[in-house]
Symmetry: C2
C-alpha cells in the first residue's frame, strides 16, 4: 500500500495548506467516508480543503506528479456516490471556497466560488429582484460546484431547465494544474462546447473553481395548486392534459399515497391523506396570465377526475404546500430504518404502466416503495424502504433499484434524471449505452485526464464490467421486461 500512498504527497500538501486545511486523522476523516448515498462507504487517505484556485492547482499538480487519485467533493449531498472517497486517494473538498464574487444586475449573472450553497445564490440576488432557478431539494446545503458536477435539477426544471441550461461559464483546473476558462457571460461561445461537457461530468474531467450562472427576474405572480386524485392514473392523465394544452407550469410534482401520508405526518402541509395521489402545480408569470392559466388548469384537472383543488395565492400558504414535497425524503425516512432513493426518467405518457410495474416489483421483493416525482418532466424518484440490519435486504434493494432503472430504459427513458451516475448506476450505464458509446465516453475522459486520476471508477463503466454483465448492445435488442412495449 505504501506505493499507493506516497508520503511525499502528504508532506507537500502540509507545506501548501494551513493546519485546518488538511485532514489525516481517522476521526476527522469520518464525515468524508460517504456522500448522500450512505450505503457505500470508504475511509479516504487524506482530505485537502483549499481556499484558493492557486491551492487547487498545486494540489492537482502534486497528485498528478505522484499519480494519486483525486475525488472532488462539494457539500457531500449527492445521491449517486459521486463523492465516494478512495482508500488510496485525496478528497479535494471545495467547501471553503464559498464566496459570492459578483452579482451582475445588468447582465443578470452571478459569479461564484464552487462552495457557495445553492440557496445562498437566490438570497444574494433577491434585493435585485432576481433569483437562480435550479432548486434541488437539498438546496439549503448543496453547493453550486456540486450542482455543476451532477447537472442538478429541482422542482422548477420543467420550465427553467437543469443546471446546464442556467450555466454561463466556469473556470476549471485540469489534472495537470492548468486553468481553463470555459463559456462566459454571453449566450454563445466559439469552439467546442467544453462548458456543457464539464457540466454533469461528475468530477471526472477537471475541478471547477469558479461558476457563472444566469439569474432570472422573479416572476411577478405565482400560484400554487394542490390537487388530489383517487388513482395515480388520473393524476398522470392530468399531467399529460396540462402539457398538451401548451401550458408549462413552473413545477408539477406528483406524490403517491405512501409518500403523501409520510410527508403530511412530518410536515403538516395540509395534504389529503386519503388521496391515492396528489399533484402540486406551480404557475408563474404576469398576474393576468396566471389568473387565466389557473382557471384553465383547474378545468383540466377537474376533467381528469380531481377530487379536490386547493389554490394558494399568498406566499406563506405556498411555502406550506411546498414544505411537504421538499421534506418528502426525510419524511419517508421515518417509515423504515433505511430508504434508497432512485432517479430515473421516462416519457410522460408511459407513467401509469411504469408505476404499475414498480408496484409489481415492490410485491415481488416485498419492499414498500413511496413514489415522489417531477411529473412534468417524467423524472421519477421511487424510494425503496428497507432495513439494512436484515441480512440480504440491502442487496435485494439494490437489485430491485437496478430493475427500476432498466425499466426506465425499456420504455425509452434514461437511468438518471438529476442525481448523476456516480458509483450507483454504473451497471445500468451498460444497459443504456452500447459499447461504442461507452468507448466514446472513455476516449473523452482520457482526453482530459490521460492517467485516469480524477474521480476514477465513477460515471463511466469499463467495457469489461459491461461485458461481465452481459449487458452490452442491448438498447434495441434484449432488454429486461420483455412484456413491456418497446419505445
Amino acid at each position: 500500500m505504501a506505493a499507493d500512498k506516497p508520503q511525499a504527497v502528504i508532506d507537500q500538501l502540509r507545506t501548501l495548506l494551513p493546519d485546518d486545511g488538511l485532514i489525516t486523522d481517522a476521526a476527522g476523516l469520518k464525515p468524508y467516508e460517504c456522500d448522500g448515498l450512505t450505503a457505500i462507504r470508504e475511509q479516504p487517505w487524506v482530505v485537502a480543503l483549499p481556499e484558493t484556485e492557486a491551492q487547487v492547482q498545486k494540489i492537482l499538480q502534486i497528485c498528478h506528479t505522484h499519480k494519486v487519485p483525486v475525488v472532488p467533493r462539494g457539500a457531500g449531498t449527492g445521491l449517486s456516490g459521486g463523492a465516494r472517497p478512495m482508500r488510496s486517494g485525496v478528497v479535494l473538498g471545495l467547501s471553503k471556497m464559498n464566496k459570492i464574487l459578483d452579482i451582475d444586475v445588468q447582465n443578470c449573472t452571478a459569479r461564484l466560488q464552487p462552495g457557495v450553497r445553492n440557496l445562498a445564490i437566490s438570497q444574494a440576488a433577491e434585493p435585485h429582484g432576481l433569483y437562480y432557478a435550479p432548486d434541488p431539494s437539498s438546496q439549503i446545503a448543496c453547493s453550486i460546484g456540486g450542482n455543476v458536477a451532477e447537472n442538478s435539477g429541482g422542482v422548477h426544471c420543467l420550465k427553467y431547465g437543469l443546471t446546464v441550461h442556467n450555466l454561463r461559464g466556469v473556470r476549471v483546473v485540469t489534472i495537470a494544474g492548468e486553468v481553463l476558462e470555459l463559456g462566459g457571460p454571453l449566450l454563445d461561445s466559439p469552439g467546442l462546447d467544453l462548458l456543457a461537457v464539464m457540466c454533469g461530468s461528475e468530477g471526472m474531467l477537471g475541478i471547477v473553481t469558479e461558476v457563472t450562472v444566469a439569474l432570472l427576474p422573479k416572476p411577478p405572480a405565482v400560484v400554487v395548486m394542490l390537487t388530489a386524485f383517487d388513482s395515480v392514473n388520473e393524476a398522470g392523465q392530468a399531467v399529460a392534459d396540462i402539457i398538451s394544452e401548451g401550458i408549462i407550469p413552473a413545477g408539477m410534482e406528483m406524490m403517491d399515497q405512501l409518500a403523501v401520508q409520510a410527508a403530511e405526518q412530518f410536515a403538516h402541509a395540509g395534504y389529503p391523506q386519503d388521496a391515492a395521489a396528489i399533484l402540486i402545480i406551480e404557475l408563474d408569470g404576469a398576474g393576468e396570465e396566471i389568473d387565466s392559466l389557473a382557471g384553465m388548469v383547474s378545468r383540466i384537472v377537474d376533467n381528469a377526475g380531481a377530487t379536490s383543488i386547493d389554490i394558494a395565492t399568498d406566499s406563506s400558504a405556498q411555502a406550506r404546500l411546498w414544505k411537504g414535497r421538499k421534506s418528502a425524503f426525510p419524511a419517508v425516512g421515518r417509515l423504515a430504518p433505511d430508504y434508497y432513493c432512485m432517479d430515473g426518467t421516462i416519457p410522460r405518457h408511459r407513467l401509469s404502466e411504469v408505476l404499475d410495474k414498480i408496484n409489481q416489483l415492490s410485491a415481488e421483493y416485498n419492499l414498500p416503495v413511496a413514489n415522489v416525482f417531477h411529473a412534468g418532466d417524467g423524472n421519477l424518484h421511487p424510494l425503496i424502504l428497507f432495513d439494512s440490519n436484515v441480512p440480504g435486504q440491502l442487496a435485494a434493494t439494490e437489485e430491485m433499484g437496478g430493475k427500476i432503472l432498466e425499466l426506465c430504459v425499456a420504455v425509452g427513458g434514461t437511468v438518471t434524471g438529476e442525481h448523476g451516475v456516480g458509483v450507483e448506476k454504473l451497471n445500468q450505464m451498460c444497459v443504456q449505452f452500447n459499447s461504442m458509446e461507452i468507448e466514446q465516453f472513455q476516449r473523452l475522459k482520457l482526453a482530459w485526464d490521460p492517467d485516469n486520476l480524477l474521480n476514477p471508477d465513477k460515471g463511466i463503466p469499463t467495457l469489461t464490467r459491461c461485458g461481465e454483465l452481459g449487458g452490452m448492445h442491448v438498447r434495441h435488442g434484449e432488454l429486461p421486461f420483455p412484456e413491456i412495449e418497446r419505445f
Copy 2:
C-alpha cells in the same frame, strides 16, 4: 497528388451510390466550391450525396481506410466557411436525407433527417399548434443538420435560446463508421454531455444522421413593435432598460441608418429612413400579459427617447415589419459589389462604445459598415461593404473584420454569436483562447477523430498558427485597442 486521391475511393463510392449520388465532373462540382462565405473557394475532389445512414457509414469507412479527408455540408448557407471543400477531400452532402421522420405531439418533439430545412420543421408542426423556435435568417434554405453543426441562432434566440437549447438528441456516425445515439427525447441523459459537444462542433467530430428537436406551443398572442431613435446610443439604452425591467422579448433587433435605408428600399417594410437607429421588439405570451407588457415597453422606449412607436398586432403587419429585418443582408448587398458579414457578441452595456469604435475603424479603412444585430443578446452583425475588384480591398476588409472581432473579445465578448468559427475566425480563436484551452479543444477533437480526417483545419487553430500570430495567452494580457476599458 495521386497519393492524396486514391482511385480506390472513387471506385468504392461508385459501387455504393447511385449515379446521381456521386459528382466528379468540374461542372457538377462548381456549386460545391464554397458555402455562404463566398470569398473563399476551392474545388473539391468529389461530392458524395448519400440517402441513408448506412451509406454515410460506408462512405466514412472508405475515407477512414484510405485516410481521405471528409468535409460535411448541409445546405451550404454557412457564413464562416465551415463547408469550404478540400482539393484532396470528399464533400459529404446531406441534402438528400431530408425526411421528417416523426412529429411527436405528446412529447413535443420532432425527429428529422439532417437535410430537413429549418422552416419545414415549423411548417410540419403547425397543424399541431407547435413550432421550432430557432430561426436563422436563412431559415428557408438552411438545414437542421447545418444548424446543429453551427449551433445556429436567429432573432428569437434571446428568449428561446440557440440550437443547443432546443436540441434533444442526435444519431451520429463517427469517422470509423460507428453509429452513436446521443441525448434523447428527455430532459437529461446520463454520462458525459456528448450531445452538447456535438452541437456547434462544425462537422469536426462526426456526421449527424438524425436530429430530435424540441417543439414549443405557438404563443397565444404576439405583438411586434417598431421604434425609431435619433441616435444608436438611445436605442441601446432602451434595450438595457427593457431587460433591466425583467422583460425578455421574444426578439429585439437593432438596425442602424445605413441598414434601415437599404432594407426599406429593398423590402418596403415601412421603416423610417431618417432614423439613426430602429429597434424591432417582438413580445409573445398570453393575450392579457402581452397587452400589459406592450404598455410597459412603450413607456420604456418613450423614456429612452424614441421618436416613433408603431405597434403591429395582426400577422400581416408583423410579417411586413420582420420582412425588412430578414432581408437586411441581401438589401445591404445592393449598396456595394460585395459585403462581408461579421458575427461577434458583446455584453449589452458595452454596445455604444463598440459601435463608436466600429465607426472609427470604418473611417480608418474607408469602408462603409451597416450594422444589423440581435440587440437583446448582444450579437452584432456588422456588414462591411467593399469591392473585391479593387485591388487590396478584400484583404483590407478581412483585416478590419478581424479587428472588429478582437474588439468584441477586448470588451469581454466572443468572436462568434451564431455563425461558427469555420475557416473565417481561426486567427481570432487565438485571441479568444489561451494555448491550454486550444490544446484542450484539440485533445477533444482527436478523441473523436484520431487521424484528423473530419473537416480538418476548421474551427480549431493549430498552436503553430497561434504562435505565428503572436496572439497566444492574450486574454488578460496584451490585446488590441489599449484605449478600451478591459472587462
